[in-house]
Amino acid sequence: MAGATRTNLVKGDTSEANAVAAVAVAVAALLFALSLAALFELVTISDPVGGVPVVTLLGLILAALGGAVITFGVGSFLSYVETQPSPSAGLVATTALSGVWFTVGGLVASQTLGLGGLTWLPVALLAGGGAFALTALPREDIGSTLPAGALTLLTGLVFITGTIGPAWVWELGFQQQASFTAEFVIPTATLFAALLSGWAAAKAYGGFGARGRHMGAYVLIYLNASSIVGVLFVLVAFTAMKGIPGLLNGARVGLGVGPAVGPVALPVSVPFVMNGAGLFAEVKGVLPAIVGTIWLVVGAVLFAVPLGVGAAIFLTEYAERGRLTQVVEVATNGLWSTPSIVFGLFGFAFLVPRFGGNKSLISGMLTLGFMLLPLVLITSREAIIAVPDEYRDASAALGVSRWQTIRSVVIPAALPGVVTGIILGVGRIAGETAPILLTMTGGTFISGGQTVDVIGGFRFTTSPPFVANPELLEATTALPFQLFALIKAGVGLGDNVASPEQFQWATALMLLVVVLSFYAIGIGARYYFRRRLNHE
């Protein structure tokens, strides 16, 4: 555009305009994070910051952002900024933008202007059609910035003028009196506006064309990925914040304050974790549930892993691919998709009567073991198939038998994958409530003295079967069940615990900690096996 000597290889001096676009991208990212925070109520939208309510502030930023995006687009169109736009913004952008504008037009007509009946439809069609024409017809620099920037500008104006203020509520008029409050609508609108204008600004930063599209997609994907991390972090932080007061209730640090482990007393005392819920316990705790959860998972893993890995080895290394392996494959996938309550019913009807007729720890272990089995089988199979055939050939060429090859070459190479499967499976079963509700759990508030002691429970006799373990045959409790009983069923609140809400949140936090600990162990194991395989 500028002259015959211009090349696309090296960009001219448009660094100032580029800096504006980069700042716009950063602002959009900031808005995205802010709106997420507001959505999770980490930021309250009605609070004033520096004398200005957060809502107005958001509106101002949005308006500025939208204005910047539009200015850049127009500047590029008028060749003030050096870019390489495509002839059109493309089908996907057109569809998305006209869809958004259709919705916005309809909402404005029916809600803000209060037009009754179907009169919103022509307005919506007009807005959508306008956005369609504006995106599809002009060159890419106008097509992708103008509709997105105008929407952001509009959202900002709506916030600034107070059309949607902190006290705004949209009554949907349904029977359950559902309504959208400003606390939900404002962050959500900000989120979408930020995404749209962030995308447009990133395209502008890349100078449109192929590079611009790459930048736009990159910003969208990057914001997506980081919002996943953000959501996870918020979830954990939220639970931790709510749970820590209850967890540390009555906690003390000092020489000899904790419970005795052998001859030595621990220097820390955290009653919530170290006590049961006995009548005379000063601070009630969930020790029996923690221990119950850990034994449950250990038992399920001990049951499912040898079976699952063994079956995977047979199916991949020995069985000829045919009808049998296909049937097993379908059955395994079906088993993995089976709802957990069905497993619970199976355990209740099949396992419980076979272990003395009472709910018992071992019934729970086996039920969860059955649930874990298909995932271990599926992932182990994938991992074993992924071991290169060259290893098997090399081993066979040395005259080593098939079983020895599997044991010394195939399984070590497949172990990281197998461990990944176990991690995923444990993550699922450790938090399961329904199966253990039916097969394992007794009372909610169990005193510390009744904490299950599987290792100490083994009794050796001189006659067959030589070993017995009454502890395995007794009902106990586990964290997910305890949480369910505390919150949903409202078992024993008030009489047993001083502050029920603290107790509930602390239980939830403990469940999270236990499950994440299993996770950490699994990831550590996988890392170890991988290192051994690759570096030694």
Binding site: E320, P388, E390, Y391, R392, D393, A394, S395, A396, A397, L398, G399, V400, S401, Q404, S408, V409, P412, A413, L533, N534, H535, E536
Partner: protein
């Protein structure tokens, strides 16, 4: 399909006159050429002998009536275009084709006069005597030391496990000697002797291939089969492997498949040429095969007129 098999059977029969006599460079029919290389005489003892070897993969006739005798302590090169059955033939010699479910082998292969395609053959013993090196280097994801000692340990010739150590029967010293001997024989000792505990996958491609040769030597084979061992390597690594093959032929019988005709000419004592369709077309001293081939098709192939 069956008709061609019939035709093959007839053609390999010495008594039957060929239907279509093919012109060769010396004016003989192909049948006469075939007879000539069949009676190819070499100094030394026959190590491997194949007779009327046919291989089918499902319906695909991959190898047609191959008969060949391979002398002891020499290098025999198998050359020919892609898909001509030379790798298939190689894999027949240690029964690696057993691992392919659709493969069917008919005919006879004898090692030191003993038939390997009969019931009751101990595959462990056979593969200990006939080792194999593959096209792409395939060391195990273990340490260099473990790669070498893997075979003998699995065969029970070396005791290095925990139990052996507890019972004071551990063969640690023997293992060290074995590792050093094999690595020296494979011309790799000087490059890796200070990092025997490193993972073998950290070696370069050429080193990995020599490690695979060393691993193959660890079970004390008599024959070493090599399936294009240098095709994935750079010229320097290839030269090292070629030198190594030359040294190995003093003690071992080496059979090597190669695409590279210069390589075959450089390293082999005798050459067998397979051509498309799974036939063995010519077999003789390498010099004779390359300089004065009897068959016109072989000459075309060697001079590059036909691939």
């Amino acid at each position: 399909m069956s008709e061609t098999t019939q035709a093959e059977a007839e053609r390999t029969d010495a008594e039957t006159a060929p239907d279509q006599p093919l012109e060769t460079t010396s004016g003989e029919t192909e049948e006469q050429v075939r007879e000539e290389w069949r009676e190819y005489a070499f100094d030394g003892r026959t190590k491997l002998a194949a007779e009327d070897l046919d291989v089918h993969y499902s319906d695909d006739h991959a190898l047609k009536g191959v008969s060949i005798e391979i002398p002891e302590n020499s290098v025999t090169a198998l050359i020919g275009p892609s898909g001509c059955g030379k790798s298939t033939f190689l894999r027949c010699l240690n029964r690696m084709n057993d691992r392919i479910r659709s493969a069917r082998v008919d005919g006879s292969v004898r090692i030191d006069g003993e038939e390997i395609y009969q019931d009751g053959v101990n595959l462990v013993e056979l593969r200990k005597r006939v080792g194999m090196v593959f096209q792409s280097p395939n060391p195990f994801p273990k340490s260099i030391r473990e790669n070498i000692s893997y075979g003998p340990e699995k065969h029970g010739d070396l005791q290095t496990g925990l139990l052996a150590r507890l019972l004071d029967r551990s063969d640690e010293d023997e293992r060290e000697q074995l590792v050093e001997r094999c690595l020296r024989d494979a011309a790799l000792w000087d490059e890796v002797n200070d990092r025997l505990d490193d993972n073998a996958l950290g070696l370069s491609g050429g080193q990995q291939q020599r490690l695979c040769i060393a691993r193959c030597l660890s079970v004390d084979p008599e024959v070493i089969l090599m399936d294009e061992p240098a095709s994935a390597l750079d010229p320097i690594a290839t030269a090292k492997i070629e030198d190594l093959i030359d040294q190995l032929s003093e003690e071992y019988t080496v059979v090597i498949v190669t695409h590279n005709m210069q390589q075959a000419a450089r390293i082999s004592d005798q050459t067998a040429v397979f051509l498309t369709g799974g036939e063995l077309v010519e077999y003789g001293d390498t010099d004779q095969v390359f300089e004065n081939p009897h068959s016109e098709r072989v000459e075309d192939y060697i001079t590059g007129k036909f691939g």
